[in-house]
Each structure stands twice: as structure tokens, then as C-alpha cells.
Symmetry: C2
Subunit: 234 residues, 2 copies
Amino acid sequence: MISKYKTVADSIENDIQSGVYNDVDKLPTEDDLISTFQVSRNTIRKAIEILVKKGLVFSIQGSGLFVRRSSCEGCVNLENFHGLTAIFKDNVSSKVIDFQQIPANEWVASKLNCSVGTPIYYIERVRYLNKKPYVYEYSYYNKEIIPYLSKELIAGSIYHYIQEDLRLQIGYVDRIIFADKLTSKQAIALDLNEGDPALVTHNLAMLKSGVVFDYSIDIHHYKETKFLKLANFF
Amino acid sequence: MISKYKTVADSIENDIQSGVYNDVDKLPTEDDLISTFQVSRNTIRKAIEILVKKGLVFSIQGSGLFVRRSSCEGCVNLENFHGLTAIFKDNVSSKVIDFQQIPANEWVASKLNCSVGTPIYYIERVRYLNKKPYVYEYSYYNKEIIPYLSKELIAGSIYHYIQEDLRLQIGYVDRIIFADKLTSKQAIALDLNEGDPALVTHNLAMLKSGVVFDYSIDIHHYKETKFLKLANFF
DNA sequence: TCGCATTTGTACGTATGTATC
DNA sequence: GGATACATACGTACAAATGCG
């Protein structure tokens, strides 16, 4: 089931990315888009809303809809962050440091909102972007939600596997972002020095039903990682 | 001009914050809210949408609307970040390190999207939360947009002044987030050591018309600052 | 300065689809 | 399977901001 407004949003986004509006920065009016796509005004407005949320466009009442140019080279846009491979594709590779099945202890259980003893996949891996170390990652997956993971699967994109193969719908991700010092093990893996800065995120991922399936800690290479957050006031 | 959906959103948010739904976590259905607030379904849905964007609630088709509990103590929610004082109120204080009016050089002009030589307010200040150093801040304001700033004003909340006194509508903020090492001057001001980590943001603030009025660099105390990013997939 | 056309924003109504319970 | 509840999609009318003559 694919909705009209998503189709329209994708189509407009595609036009923006391929440079259709590069000269003018101004998109067609809502009425124009209505006749182009042959849908109602609400549907057009809902599509535009998605693009606004993604930080691709902004609108001015009485004036029009404009391209929002703010991309920062190599930045990760927090608004549509669906995992590393979704953005960087084939440039991402991974090295698995540790992979085992463990029972949830108190701490993991509190994070994953499950009972102590629940079977958990624990994964520790280093991920590379263009062969350069990018992030050191510790993940805990609830096996009751994600019943099977293998060393081959986790060498690639776990999120892709969850969405495309398991057909589960990811709904929400809570992400806490801060800076910290690298431990010696992390420093070696990232080709930095112990005590150097790290951009750290703690991530809690939920399905659309609100069920928590993943808790992970990402230790980012501070020279390689920049996040982009495009905020709209209202 | 205050819209109905914002009024409804504020009212529901208020109820959530004051713990009305603490027992159940489940909010009234759309139909209930329609009869409570005596507005149309679209208006209710638009209000809910705001709360979803703020990360306060999430909805499950066929089931209902639920409170999203994910607040992290002392975290700054990137979704509704309108400046430090807006969140922490009277617990914020500032020390002005430098304040002067300068003509824009090439670099500033490129950031503020103005011509070289445009009068600029340059401000350097340390901001404290509960008397503890929180962030070292460098700001550049376009004087053509913000015509007057004084040492007294910048000791408080500049954003509050812009919105309440100048009656300008802030529209968008682009924020680049990364980690870096502290310089010795920053370290002294933040009561840390040179080379310690810092959570850094580069911020570009625009009015609703898209006009850039502020570029600032925030060097956050890495032990005190945590950002919270609540993402919704769609 | 004023007025009008254009364009987006708000608000209402209705019908139908789809997921949950 | 039926009732409930949210999601999508169509329509209309008027308000508010912008831009041009």
C-alpha cells in the first residue's frame, strides 16, 4: 500500500535532487502541482509537508515554495537517518568484533523494555566509510522481535534486513547525542588516540507499534562525522 | 492571530506535562477530542501532528494515541530548541567576553549571505546553567536585520528579544553538530582542560522569509550537554 | 498609498480505506 | 466478523501575506 502523497513527495524530491529547480529555487505553485499530479490540494500539501520536514523546501505564505539549500558535504541529516548504508550505500563496510546471544541483564532489560533473561543478540562492530573507520558500534537486539541474525547479515545493513526481509515497520528512533573521550580499544579501532573526542549517540529504535527492538551505542570518529539538524519553527 | 490547532496542541501538551495521562499513557480518541474542543477532525489531527513532531506522543492506527516517554533528564530536545533560556529559564546566566560592531569579512558574509562590509554585531560569551559553565558561544548578527543590541541585552536571551521586542518571526535553524577538541581559552572558560572533548554546533538562523540573521558557533561542555533527537519514520 | 490578483494558511465537511481489538 | 479508531483523499470556503500595478 503506497499512498498518493508519498508518491508525489518522492517525485518532487527527485526533481529537486536532479536539479530541475536549480536556476530559480522556486517550485511550482500548489495549483500547478495539483494539475500536474491530478490530486487534491490536501494531498499536495501533505506531500509538501514531508519535504518541509526533511528540510528540502520551505514555503512563504503569499509568495511560494522554495528550495532550502543547506546541505553540508558529508553531513548526516538527522531527519532522514535510516542507517548508514541507506545514505552512503556501497561505500560502507563493516568488521564484526563480537557477536553472541546473551540473556538480558538488568541494564539491557531496562533499555529494551523487556524482562531480565530475554534472549538478546549482542553485536560489536566497526563500520567503515570509504575504507576509513567511521563508527564503533555496540548493539543489543531483542531476539523475540528479531528472531534471527547471522554473522553474514550483521556484516551488512541490519536495518535493511529488518525492513525488507522481515517486513517490519520501523516507527521511531530516540537518539541522545553528546561528546565523550575515547577508550583505548575504541581509539585503536578508529585510528585515533585514547582520550581523543568522540561524537557519541545512544539510540533506541522502536517499531510502529512502539515495541523496542534495538538499543545501540555509536562512537563516531570525531573528524569524520557531522550531523545536520534542520529545525522548523512553528 | 492564533490558530485553533495551536491552541488545541498547547492544551493537550499542557495536560500531558501536568500528568493527566500518567496512569494510562493513552490519550482520548480523535472523536473524543473533537467533542471536547468543538473543532473539526482535521484541526484535531493537525494539533496531534505537532505533538508527534515534538516527540510527545505517537499514534497507532486502529489503536489510539499514546504518550511517548523518552525524556532524558537535562537533555536539550533538538525538536523544540528555541534557545537556552526558553528551556532552562532563570537558571541561565551569561558572561560577555567580547562585544563589538564589525564590518563583515568574506567568511562572515558567506555565512550570513550578505555583502562584505555589512555591519555585524560580534558577540563572544560564556553561558552558565545553575552557575556551572555550559557553553562558550561565538555569534554574528546581521545589524541590517537586528538593528540594535546592547551589552545589557546580550547578557540575557537574544532570541527572546528578537521575537518579543522586535516582533520578528524566526523560521528555520540549520544546525551542524560534531565533536572537537577544546582550545586553551575555551577550556579555561568551561573549567576543563585543553584538548578535552567538546560538543560543537554551527548554527544558521533564518526568519520566516528565509533571511539569515544569525550565525553562531556553540562550544558545549561535554559533560553537561546532551541533545535529544526524536525521529519519526514515514 | 491603495487596491487587486496571486499564493499559501486555516478550518470545515464527507467518504472510504485499513489496522487493531 | 463486527466495532472501533486512525489514515488517506476528495471537496469547499475564507483568511492572511505577498507582490505588482
